[in-house]
Amino acid sequence: MLKVVNGGIEILVEDWPGRLGYMGLGMAAAGAMDNLALQLGNLLVGNALTDAGLEIAGGYCEFEATDTGVLALTGADMSAALNGTPLPLWESVAVEKGDLLKFSHFGEKGFRAYLALRGGVDVPVYLGSRSTCLFGSYGGFEGRKLAAGDIVTAVKDSSAAGGGTSSVTGRKLNPKYIPKYSNIWELRAIPGPNSSPDYVTEEGMDYVFSSPMKISHNANRAAYRLEEVPDYFWARKDGGKGGSHPSNIVDHGYNMRGAINVTGNTPSVLIADGPTLGGFVCVANVINADLWKIGQGIPARDKAAFTLVTVEDAIEARKERNAMFEADDLFLS
């Protein structure tokens, strides 16, 4: 349905919740970096929440429609235009064969845009998911990012595609449900498993929950690297049997997705394609309901601000998210 004319920085096929159940074999879950934008896009075109879409990081890409269809653009505003006319975000739009869809680049807020196609992107399901694991080179579209000449089609026999295109065209997300974008992303997080008092000082954990940390230019789908923590962060003088630095521990499975993993004094939020185990502490974990915000953080510009919450808060936030997807007033038409 869409032919890639210019692949831009990084276009990937991703779904949500990704490839679950294989971390024990060293396979990350992959999945959309901003699962909220992808899922809202899916609902706008009448898809299931779990259908695959296109994740566009940075921008600079261009597509040509090879067929009629319906799509919805969500996520970061990249000044996308359909045949030269600005394409609205958070709204389903019909496209005709030959239509040109061109993206500029990300703007003041947000780093990833999502294109949901009615029916869902049709790539082989591999181990239960259509998501691309970029660093494993598997899943998605031939295990890689899209390049000029690639043609992405929608699933023809999906339950969504059976209903025609007219019923969802023009469907708009109620503005009150459009996610709030920022340059300082508040990420609610639960402490542990390696926090105070055993591994990190009280003052160190206070630092995590009170100091917005700049996102490094080295932020990608495996990890969002952040600004260094101070030396008083550490409760131990070394890593004992794990190694010489207090960030070392004997290798263990990492809590994913959302672990705040600290290597040396450098924290990284482990996400989509991140490592499944290793020998560094995980001092806290971003809650599921806030994982989407990490994917919208602009490398070398935005900051992450962690807020301490409880497991109960995390469960409540996840329930609220699920309720939002079911809300009667989710769409305006």
Partner: protein
């Protein structure tokens, strides 16, 4: 006339691969930016002669930052 190569992504300058006075073609690589742990090529939008190099290795750039000026 002058053409200014601007950073197309935020990140660190990995290297500048041209020198002042050098003639370059349109679409020729002038510099490389490190972002998302990937080296991203900065291609010239126009042909010309390198007039000024405004960035050096390890400099942090934001999207739209001026990097290299060509005379053409």
């Amino acid at each position: 006339m002058a053409y200014t190569l601007k950073a197309h992504m935020p990140g660190l300058v990995a290297r500048v691969v041209v020198e002042p006075g050098q003639n370059v073609e349109k679409d020729q690589e002038l510099a490389v930016i490190n972002c998302m742990k990937t080296e991203m090529r900065c291609l010239s939008g126009e042909a010309g002669r390198v007039d000024k190099i405004l960035v050096a290795e390890w400099d942090e750039v934001d999207i739209g930052s001026d990097m290299i000026i060509l005379e053409n």
